[in-house]
């Protein structure tokens, strides 16, 4: 192996998640997937170092959920301690700029707070690094260039090349995270560094409320006559305009199906 391939330095940004049903603090799903991806990369390129980074409050609930990441097989986590409601972006940007890793991996969006998914973009803009979203896998890292697979809808993948250092975000297409082991999680260390906290004033002014159910869109019928309105209201959604080929040979049937598949463009080239 060439010396360029001797591993990369990966920082995984993790957050405190929220269980969708109970609302309890937990390890965030997307961040855990990011960590899984980083650990897989460490396995693939020996000598890689994976570090965990979190900025936020340290209390009982957040410590428990942060230890959930440590239980996946890491010994330490760097915690930039801030007060409640502080903006994490400046602290993280400063920390990353001071000791820049080659790759920063994080989940696409947080499960608490604003959850706008802006943090990786803000970091990329501040640090001037390229950003790739919706990552599915890291194929290779060599000579300061990473080859990545980006997840597209419908299970498709796109191959990208990005120059390091870079920020990568993962969502549900990334590999599922491994289970967190309780003992190693208890034994692992949190390296706490208090940092200056800049309160997020804008967020404090907004009105936050539990999500309301979104109204379902009504089917608006613009009909000139009562008959059309009645038909629209009473009609079933069934299409019923299907073509039925009966009493044809297998070749003719196959021909018709082939034509349809060709029109839809689902056959591989």
């Amino acid at each position: 192996m060439r010396p360029e391939q001797q591993g990369v330095e990966v920082a995984v940004l993790v957050s405190v998640g929220r269980h969708p049903i109970t609302g309890r603090a937990r390890r965030a799903d997307q961040d855990a997937r990011g960590l899984e991806l980083a650990l897989g990369l460490g396995h693939q390129l020996p000598g890689s170092r994976v570090s965990l980074l979190h900025a936020g409050v340290l209390d009982e609930a957040s410590e428990a959920s942060l230890r959930g990441y440590l239980g996946m097989g890491l010994e330490t986590l760097t915690l930039l301690e801030q007060t409640e409601g502080a903006d994490a972006i400046p602290a993280l940007a400063e920390h990353l700029a001071a000791a820049p890793p080659q790759l920063v991996i994080t989940g696409a969006r947080a499960e608490r707070g604003e959850g706008s998914g802006l943090l990786p973009y803000a970091l990329a803009e501040r640090l001037g690094w390229p950003l790739v979203s919706g990552l599915a896998a890291v194929e290779t890292v060599e000579n300061g260039v990473a080859t990545l697979l980006q997840a597209l809808p419908r299970g498709q993948r796109r191959r990208l090349k990005v120059r390091l250092p870079a920020i990568l975000t993962v969502d549900a297409a990334a590999p599922a995270p491994r289970q967190s082991a309780f003992g190693p999680a208890r034994r692992a260390e949190l390296e706490v560094t208090p940092v200056a906290a800049e309160p997020d004033r804008e967020l404090a002014q907004w009105r936050l409320a539990p999500a309301r159910k979104r109204p379902k869109r009504l089917k608006i019928v613009k009909a000139a006559s009562a008959r059309d309105r009645f038909k629209a209201a009473a009609a079933k959604a069934e299409g019923g305009s299907g073509q039925v080929l009966e009493g044809v040979s297998a070749e003719q049937g196959a021909e018709a199906i082939y034509k349809l598949l060709k029109e839809e463009g689902v056959l591989p080239r």
Binding site: S116, T147, L208, G240, A254
Partner: protein, 427 residues
């Protein structure tokens, strides 16, 4: 010909009497006079409009008179006329000197405006048309080649089409540079993007941070609000869909699908626009190497595009698997096939299995239990191969072939292989 209209009471009487032997011929004669159809309304001898309520309607298949007051069934011509009227009922709107611009960057997935894009344009129209005295114009920035020809109907006043190879594929940096150039030159008051993964969600966040704005993401509601800087207040989803955030509308907003009703009453000009200064080429650190061929068997059933699904009617399972491989399709199965052990449990389609969203669903030997039909509700095209012409799957299918599934699949495989072989020979 005299002005006086002559009446023939006998003929009228015959025309009213359905049982009269001359009824048909008299009706035809009256119809000729009335200009094609039996007249139900005419000018009387004293210059008064007379109506014959019995002339309307038609004799139904059972000899019973039916009256259709919608006017839809009065003949092909009339129906065509009403359709024409429905098309023309859109009001043409041209905004010459807009007070401000609302910029929209539609995704144009597949080269056409998606439903999400149209909703977003509806939202843009709300912002632009709020003050009828000083209307704004909706500017759409479109990247790359497209197949859309109804930009005006979707509510676009100005269209900036940037068809350069640099914007093709995943090119966020080049697109961002173009949007920054638009900002410099046209300075829109609002920027709206769809909050769709890999489309507007990515580009919108980059744009907002480049403009130094804190965007509203996941916007689904918009209300006028005098106290806000832009006069609007928005409600956005936050914290993994568990929170509603109400805040003043910022300059850049990323909206969810169904954030507004799409435009359907007006038609807009969609005037092509171009930028005066050249867009500076961005330094690209991300290189798109194109799509990767994925193994269809590895694609999750819920997101597969093309599914070949087998049921109780499949007897030749080896042939079925081979066909799925040749067609490049993901395999699915009905509950019976899974219970009988021919397919794995995670391949089951339907209410108790996976709800699939395939574009093409090829159901082989599946009769279509209601639980199965529920599972394929959101499929676009359903093709059925079945022996029983009366089963429910045939009713649901867009194309149904009645016959032996093994023979038809084999013929289909042969056809595909032959085509592929032909291409290889030609190449």
């Amino acid at each position: 010909m005299s002005e006086n209209r002559r009446r023939d009471p006998r003929r009228e009487w015959i025309a009213r009497n359905r049982l009269h032997p001359e009824h048909a011929s008299v009706l035809a004669a009256l119809g000729e006079i009335g200009g094609g159809a039996a007249a139900s309304e005419w000018l009387g001898p004293n210059g008064v409009i007379r109506r014959n309520p019995r002339a309307i309607g038609f004799i139904g298949p059972n000899g019973v008179k039916r009256i259709d007051r919608s006017g839809a069934q009065q003949g092909g011509q009339a129906a065509g006329g009403t359709r024409q009227a429905a098309q023309d009922s859109r009001r043409q709107v041209t905004i010459e000197a807009p007070a401000f611009l609302v910029a929209v960057v539609p995704d144009l997935s597949g080269g056409r405006l998606s439903g999400h894009d149209k909703d977003l344009l509806g939202l843009a129209r709300r912002l632009a048309d709020a003050d009828p005295e000083r209307p704004g114009a909706v500017l759409a920035v479109v990247f790359g080649e497209h197949k859309e020809d109804s930009f005006g109907e979707a509510g676009i006043d100005r269209l900036l089409h940037l068809a350069d190879d640099a914007y093709a594929g995943f090119a966020p940096e080049a697109r961002l540079a173009a949007l920054a150039a638009v900002e410099r030159e046209l300075a829109p008051r609002h920027w709206l993007l769809p909050d769709s993964p890999l489309g507007g969600a990515d580009l919108g966040r980059r744009l907002a941070l480049r403009l130094g704005e804190r965007p509203a993401t996941g916007v689904w509601q918009l209300e006028p609000d005098v106290g806000s800087p832009l006069g609007w207040r928005c409600t956005a989803r936050g914290a993994a869909e568990s929170l509603d955030i109400q805040r003043p509308l910022p300059r850049v907003a990323l909206a969810l699908a169904e954030c507004a009703e799409p435009v359907d009453e007006t038609r807009h000009a969609a005037v092509p626009l171009s930028l005066a200064e050249a867009i500076p080429s961005a330094l690209s650190r991300i290189e798109d190497l194109g799509q990767v061929a994925v193994d269809p068997a590895g694609v999750a059933l819920a997101e597969a595009e093309f599914i070949v699904s087998g049921g109780n009617g499949v007897k030749d399972w080896d042939g079925f698997h081979y066909a799925a491989r040749v067609l490049g399709a993901t395999e699915g199965a009905s509950r019976v096939a899974v219970d009988d052990g021919f397919m794995a449990r995670h391949r089951q389609v339907g209410a108790t299995g996976t709800w699939v969203t395939a574009r093409v669903y090829l159901a082989v030997g599946i009769s279509g239990a209601i639980q199965h039909l529920q599972g394929i509700q959101s499929c676009d095209k359903v093709v059925a191969i079945n022996l029983d012409p009366g089963c429910d799957m045939i009713k649901r299918a867009d194309l149904a072939v009645i016959g032996d599934s093994a023979a038809i699949l084999a013929a289909l495989v042969a056809k595909v292989e032959q085509q592929r072989g032909g291409q290889r020979d030609a190449a």
